[in-house]
Symmetry: C2
Subunit: 196 residues, 2 copies
């Protein structure tokens, strides 16, 4: 797939078919991920792939607890309070037990997001090119000890992102974004770019 097509048709996928992702595809996706730049090529990023349905059934309640902890922090206590996007994300939380695969992006020595997240974007683009949907999500700090206990993740390993993956119900892209002429500045904060 051309790079442009992958980037311009990537969108958050939150509804998945139950089909498993072949191991060869998982491997290719991770191989692509680790090619992303990282600080000093220290390669602190670690991926934890979970596709065992029994483990996903244990993770589902943790994810839902994290989701609602975050929502309560934002002052939202019911789906009626929410935007369409958050309703869709709530449905993902409800269905997490049955998601075919989740990849956790972690870092040794509490490595920084700036060295981990480029790899995650490679991972999501490679998945897109294989017809596999993803959505980057976080986990509220209140569930971190449960998360570490379930998957044996040491305390000095930083959690960065939780990426549910699977073949989509529904379609990829396009997405809606503000015009770059309004979100990009040139030479000084507030000065529009030459293409504005």
């Amino acid at each position: 797939m051309p790079l442009g097509e992958a980037m311009f048709t990537q969108r958050a996928i939150r509804r998945f078919r139950p089909d498993r992702i072949p191991v060869a595809d998982l491997e290719l996706i991770i191989e692509a991920a680790v090619k992303a730049p990282n600080g000093g090529n220290r390669q602190l990023t670690r991926f934890l792939v979970v596709d065992d349905p029994a483990l996903m059934e244990k993770f589902g309640p943790i994810y839902r607890e994290a989701w609602w902890a975050k929502r309560r922090e934002m002052g939202e206590t019911s789906v009626e309070d929410m935007s369409d996007l958050y309703r869709s994300a709530t449905r993902l939380a409800d269905e997490m037990d049955a998601v075919p695969c989740v990849v956790f992006a972690l870092a040794l020595d509490n490595g920084a997001a700036s060295s981990v997240v480029p790899a995650v974007q490679n991972l999501m683009l490679a998945a897109r090119a294989l017809g596999i949907g993803t959505v980057p999500t976080t986990l509220h700090s209140s569930v971190m000890s449960q998360f570490r206990a379930l998957f044996g993740v040491p305390e000095d390993v930083a959690f960065h992102l939780c990426i549910p993956m699977g073949y989509p119900r529904g379609n990829f892209g396009p997405t809606t974004r503000q015009p770059t002429s309004e979100t990009t500045f040139h030479g000084r904060w507030g000065t529009p770019p030459p293409w504005a």
Copy 2:
């Protein structure tokens, strides 16, 4: 360019030819960047593009000060202490005044790295496809007030990454990475993946 070629031949470029990057290419690169996923589609990322040589001459000393502040923190006080990679990065710091373009990745409301850095990776991949080299770098906190003053960046706008860009002296990729069979776990921290 195929997605795989872009991802598997992206490498940090730290030596640039002086040629300017055409505005149409800058626009395409930024358009690709903003298509990356971001939390709640709140679109807090802002890019500041600097390609005015007079501004780069003012930024160069700030970048060098930040580079050496970081090195002193790491206990390195001369290039002799450094790995090849850091020597190359030191040369970039020395040459920063003449780099043709720098993009700063910023975020309104101090938005999180997990919503900004995917866009930066898109930016770097799109640049790669156009033959333009990049390297993600950070700025030490000790120069933040100088950085904000030079470019008029408000206090509540988070700085995430500084990305020098230009046509490379030298070649793209490939890069060296640890085997994914050692950096990826399956089901539990420490358990090798099925392709190991």
